[in-house]
């Protein structure tokens, strides 16, 4: 069975869109083809955590700007 969200390109795309250093991105992308399904699901979970941190960071900045304008 093909897991579309676990495809190489899907994971690479996810990595590229995260707000992390380019060096880190390249290191992650380089690993993706070697990963099996279990590793991919774990990577996806970890990327999800990074994604969540990004979103939290954005929310904090927005809150700061909002406070600054008051």
């Amino acid at each position: 069975m093909v897991y579309k969200i676990l495809l190489n390109n899907s994971l690479k795309d996810f990595v590229e869109k995260l707000n992390i250093d380019q060096e880190q991105k390249e290191a992650l992308v380089a690993k993706i083809p070697q990963l099996d399904k279990k590793q991919r699901i774990k990577l996806l979970a970890n990327l999800g955590e990074v994604y969540m941190l990004n979103k939290q960071e954005e929310e904090v900045v927005e809150q700061l700007k909002g406070k600054w304008q008051e």
């Binding site: 996810f14 707000n19 979970a45 990327l47 955590e49 904090v60 700007k65």
Partner: protein, 707 residues
Amino acid sequence: MAETLRPREDVVQEHSSLPGPGSGENNAPKVAPEDPAKVQAQIKGLKASLAEGTDTFVTGLKGADVGEILNKDTIAAENKVKAEAGLDETVNKIIANQEKQRAIQESTRKIADNIAKAEAEKVRRQAEAVQQEQQRLAQQAEADRLAEEARAMKENVDRAKERAEVGKAVAKSEAEKQPTPVGVVQEESDIAKAMKEADKRNRQTVTNPEVAPQNNSNPLRDEMIRAVEKANKPKAEKQPVAIANKAETPNQEVQPDQEKSFVRRAGEFARPVVGGVKSRAEGLAEAYKIGKGWAKGFREWRTERAERRAQEAKEAEQVAQNGAKAEQAVVEGKTNAAESIDLHDIQKQLEALRSEMKKIIGEGSKEDIIEETSEANAEMSELLEERQSLAEKVTGKNIAEIMVTAEKRVAETLGDGMYNTREEYVRAHLSREQNVLTIAKETDLLNTEWKNLSESQQKKYGNNFELFRTKTYQKAQKNGFSEDEFYGLMAAGYKPQSLKRKGFLNIGRSISNVLTLRLGRFGRSERRIVGPDGKKVWMRTKDFNKMAELEGKKFKNGIANEAQNRLGEQWGAAVKNETEDSLERIANDKNAAIERAKSPFEQGKKAMLVEILSGLSEQLANPSKLKSREKSFGGKMDSEINAWSMFEGIGGFGDLNGDPRKNARILKDGVSELGVGAKDTKNMAEKGRNNFVSEIVTLLLKLAKNF
């Protein structure tokens, strides 16, 4: 008897000397009776003596026939003597005869006196007539000259009117184009050249000692001039220059020395005529000779003058004709358009020269600086706007509020807390700024001229520029220029050429050429000026005065405007800087806060990624399995069903292209592949993005653990 009766020669001799009534001759001794023949001889001798004497002193005179008069009486006496001679009468008779003879002598003397007086009167009248003729000729000459000048004046007025019309047209044309001095420059016309030549000729004539008399003090001439001026008073008011010239120019037509000398000599010969026969005769002869010689000289001089005048008139007429033709050509000028084009070209050349001159004297570089400054200001404004825009985005503050705050701060710093607005600041400092600018500009203008002076000329000022400045301005004041007019004309390009003229340093002299303006003598209606293009043109005094006034106002107003602008710019620049600083401070503060807020997240992500990578490194794939993994996960990614869209599109089902159904399908397909039930995802979606993502992550980790 012989001793008392003097010989006839003695008597004649005595009579020939024409003794006066009180002389010793009246006391002649009584004569004793003599022989009639002797008496007769005496009478003959007397007659001859009288004839000879009178003939002597009337030599050269015309009119009275002395011999005839003498004969009339002497013949009668002779006849009487003859009648008595034959009688051989007594001595008493002889004595009586002698007394009669004496009476005859007396009568003859009186006659001679009368004749002499008549002749003297005649000569006097002749002298008077000559004098009157001389005066009449002088008056005629003066009248001719005045009439000639009047004609010249009228021609000048006509030409000036024509030039004024042309000047007005030019001024109007130029005024519509740009604010340049009215009628500043025109080509020097043939008429102007003719006037210049005439002026030069006149000067040469005046300064030529052979032509002009040294002494121009002539009451008669002055009286005539006054009379003419009085008669032509309206014209004189219109043409003060010409009248002034007449008054100042020595009269070349009248020969006052000759006239004076003639009168004096005429008086000299008239006086001795009354005194004695000899001196009177000589005096008369001399006077006649002098008068005749003078008359000849006068006629020659008059002829020469007439020829000279005729020649000058001919030349003037020729010049006038040429001038008239030239003027006519200009007036007709193949329509006004052609004329406008020519003048416009001249104006363009002028502008080019001015521009070049400004570059030479440094104004061009200032303009460049100003231009560069303007460009820099524009760039700064652009940059400031960008920053303001950015700052507004960042801070959300109204930029106008920031600027108000900035202006308050400027009022505290630049305005020393005394001036709250730009207007107040400008108004308070305008006078000071104007003075600063005025001194700077005037110094620049004069400094240019100072540099143009030769070393020797600078040395005359002790190599002291300030002395040069002071004396130059004093000259301008003497010539009636105000400070603004003087520097205004210089700023417009009328350079003080005359600073190079000899005698400029002599304060006591009237320096009429401080600028390149040949101001001419006082009262002239026209003056020659040298324009910025170096061309010399004639300009009416009132036009020149208007131009000077205009340039003065332009100079003054220009400085006032510049001072106002500079002060305004100072205030504006301060406010701009303050605003920019405020914005920068605000932005910096906020950026710093944001960076501080982001810092823990960045660190957390970094730690997490390090952990991920280290975990992946420990689980390197077997190369033999890479091929199968490539086969399993190397397929083409679905643009809609991928890992990113799974997380990004979950929040409320509205973030992915705004289509809830589509989002739901993506989510279901993606998550269901991983064994997450659709029912659960629907419930989780209602919990919010972070919570949902968190739960997905938990599920994924759990899922991975189960493998």
